[in-house]
């Protein structure tokens, strides 16, 4: 199968993620969309590793997974704290700073 097709899938996933970040209001869903974008990048890395015939892209995919896990730890901590103090995880409610 032509590896370029995987790149189209990666681009599609990235676009879906980016649109999700912009249109969805729940912080958790926004965060999941960001994870989708990271995984799209991973798919692109692995595909390019196949096309270029070396392993650098696959190594990068592993690093991305680890970093994404760290990001979940920090992100959920922040989202849970803000949910506990506001009883809502909507990014629209968090608007004290806009004046």
């Amino acid at each position: 199968m032509n590896p370029a097709n995987y790149l189209y899938v990666a681009a599609l996933l990235f676009t879906i993620g980016a649109i999700g970040v912009v249109v969805r209001r729940n912080a958790i869903v926004v965060f999941m969309c960001i994870e989708l974008m990271l995984n799209a990048a991973n798919l692109a890395f692995v595909t390019f590793a196949r096309i270029n015939g070396n392993l650098d892209g696959q190594v990068m995919a592993f690093f991305t997974m680890v970093v994404a896990a760290c990001e979940v730890v920090v992100g959920l901590a922040i989202i849970v704290t803000i949910y506990r103090s506001r009883r809502s995880a909507s990014v629209d409610d968090a608007s004290l700073l806009k004046r």
Binding site: L7, A10, F14, G17, A18, V21, A27, V30, F31, I34, M37, L38, A40, A41, N42, A44, F45, T47, F48, A49, I51, N52, G53, N54, D56, G57, V59, M60, F63, T64, V67, C70, E71, V74, G75, A77, I78, I79, T81, I82, R84, S85, R86, V91, A94, S95, L96, L97, K98
Partner: protein, 506 residues
């Protein structure tokens, strides 16, 4: 089957980063096992000791240059050493401000207004997790400008960002605002990291290599599909431009600067800018050098709108921290001018500007931490009226730092702006120089308006006063004032040192 060859690391060249990471791990252990009473002192001494040791190590290896320090993942060269030195100096001054625990919540996990929070406040307990977080952030910042491949760049970007997201939410006063700042910073930061990573994937696809040198060679011999290169370059730049808060990726800056505890804002505003622009310099000067025809027009437009937007919107601000945030956006525009120059003097000027601007920023936010009333800091500009009559010394220092931001002669800001604009002029990019000078003039208006407000209007009686600064805060403010004046009057030694050492190793 090939035998596995262990990577050869030259530990002495990597030691500034390793020392800071080691200190951070030690600080986490102290947080877990040492009694609450001596924790603040222990944490502060570990943090400062680590940073000073690391700075000494940077000084020791100042003439070193090596591309093989970590199997090609990092480049130790003149700009790397200079940027690491600047970051460490700024971090030390930042930790002096962070040491004033008055600004940090006693219990970050407690719900604002809950009984747990009241108990934590009453018991006077200090939660000192901000120190290890600072050290981790500094380690990421030290790695970011020296990273020489896309993997290291991405990891360094995240190591410097993740602690900062948390630190933004630790404010003691106005905690909802602070948590909101953390959420915004985190979501937008992660969003831009995804762009960075996607761009990195396409650059790898274009060049078949993750090292900056490999990308440089691929562009030079132009074998691949140019579309991959363009997608990669633009997405990677989005991630970087976000970190340095260039328009149109600046939306987080005012909110986060305002919501975060002021010492954290000071550290973040100064040190992240040095690290981010350091990495941008390396990427654009080494990897993308030969495709400048592709990126220069777009980056010129971004520089122009960043300078104008920052300067114009700052005029309308009524909050001192928001005003400084928009001023930092304008300064990001000036710094992009230095990257656009793409010549040796542009590199020297950008490094000098970063150092001068970082030091002045730390001092300015340091003074913001001192102006308080009974409920915490006063950031409303109207209530700063007449400050010069009540606390002439602090007001004079603040006025000097604002003049440095505005680029008035005899301050470091003037030398910085002059060198950076002359480098841009030398490269033939006249439009950006004209807009730069124009927006400096616009920016001077709102800096001078604050000075007039402080010295020439009558004080309002509403309990706003300048608190007596702690010893460490005083050191930061005075050091920042002294460096700003010194670099304005005698810039030659530093400029000469920068121009003799700053050469990128490829």
């Amino acid at each position: 089957m090939d035998t596995f060859v262990a990577p050869a690391l030259s530990y002495s060249l990597l030691s500034p980063i390793l020392i800071v990471l080691g200190g951070a791990v030690l600080a986490v252990l102290v947080e877990a096992f040492v009694s609450r009473l001596i924790r603040p002192v222990a944490q502060l001494s570990i943090t400062l000791g680590t940073l000073v040791l690391s700075l000494a190590q940077v000084f020791r290896i100042r003439h070193a240059s090596s591309l093989t320090a970590a199997m090609g993942s990092v480049a130790i060269d003149g700009p790397a050493i200079l940027l690491q030195g600047s970051i460490l100096v700024i971090a030390i001054l930042g930790v002096f401000l962070i040491a004033d625990q008055e600004h940090f919540t006693g219990l970050a996990a407690a719900i604002p207004g809950s009984s747990e929070e009241r108990e934590a406040v009453k018991s006077g307990e200090k939660v000192t997790e901000v120190y290890p977080l600072t050290l981790f952030a500094v380690a990421g910042m030290l790695l970011f400008p020296i990273a020489n491949d896309l993997i290291t760049l991405f990891v360094a970007l995240e190591v410097l960002s993740l602690p900062l997201y948390l630190m933004a939410g630790l404010s003691r006063h106005r905690r909802l605002l602070s948590q909101e700042a953390a959420l915004k910073y985190f979501l937008l930061g992660a969003f831009s990291s995804a762009f960075f990573l996607f761009g990195a994937a396409f650059l790898y696809g274009y060049s078949g290599s993750v090292s900056l040198a490999g990308i440089h060679d691929a562009i030079e011999s132009s074998p691949g599909n140019i579309v991959l290169l363009l997608i990669g370059m633009s997405f990677l730049s989005v991630g970087l431009l976000f970190k340095v808060s260039a328009v149109p990726f600046h939306a987080w800056t005012p909110d986060v600067y305002q919501g975060a505890p002021t010492p954290v804002t000071a550290f973040m505003a100064a040190a992240t800018k040095v690290a981010g622009f350091g990495a941008m310099l390396r990427i654009f000067y080494t990897a993308f050098e030969n495709s400048y025809w592709d990126w220069r027009p777009l980056l010129t437009v971004i520089a122009i709108i960043t300078m104008l937007f920052g300067a114009i919107v700052a005029i309308a601000q009524r909050d001192i921290k928001r005003m400084l945030a928009y001023s930092s956006i304008a300064h990001a525009g000036f710094l992009i001018t230095g990257i656009l120059a793409l010549n040796k003097s542009g590199l020297d000027a950008t490094i000098f500007y970063l150092f001068a601007y970082g030091i002045a920023t730390i001092g300015a936010f340091g003074i913001v931490t001192l102006v308080r009333d009974s409920s915490g800091e006063v950031t409303d500009l109207n209530r700063w009226a007449g400050l010069g009559k009540r606390s002439p010394f602090i007001a004079t220092v603040f006025a000097t730092l604002l003049l440095a931001f505005a680029g008035i002669p005899l301050t470091s800001g003037f030398i910085g702006k002059f060198t950076i604009f002359s480098a841009a002029f030398e490269s033939g990019n006249k439009a950006v120089v004209v807009v730069g000078v124009l927006s400096s003039a616009i920016a001077a208006y709102f800096y001078i308006r604050v000075i007039v407000l402080m010295f020439f209007s009558d004080p309002v009686e509403d309990g706003t006063s300048v608190v007596i600064p702690s010893f460490l805060t005083r050191v930061t403010v005075i050091a920042s004032f002294a460096v700003t004046i010194f670099l304005g009057v005698f810039p030659t030694p530093l400029l000469n040192f920068i121009s003799s050492t700053a050469t990128f190793l490829r």
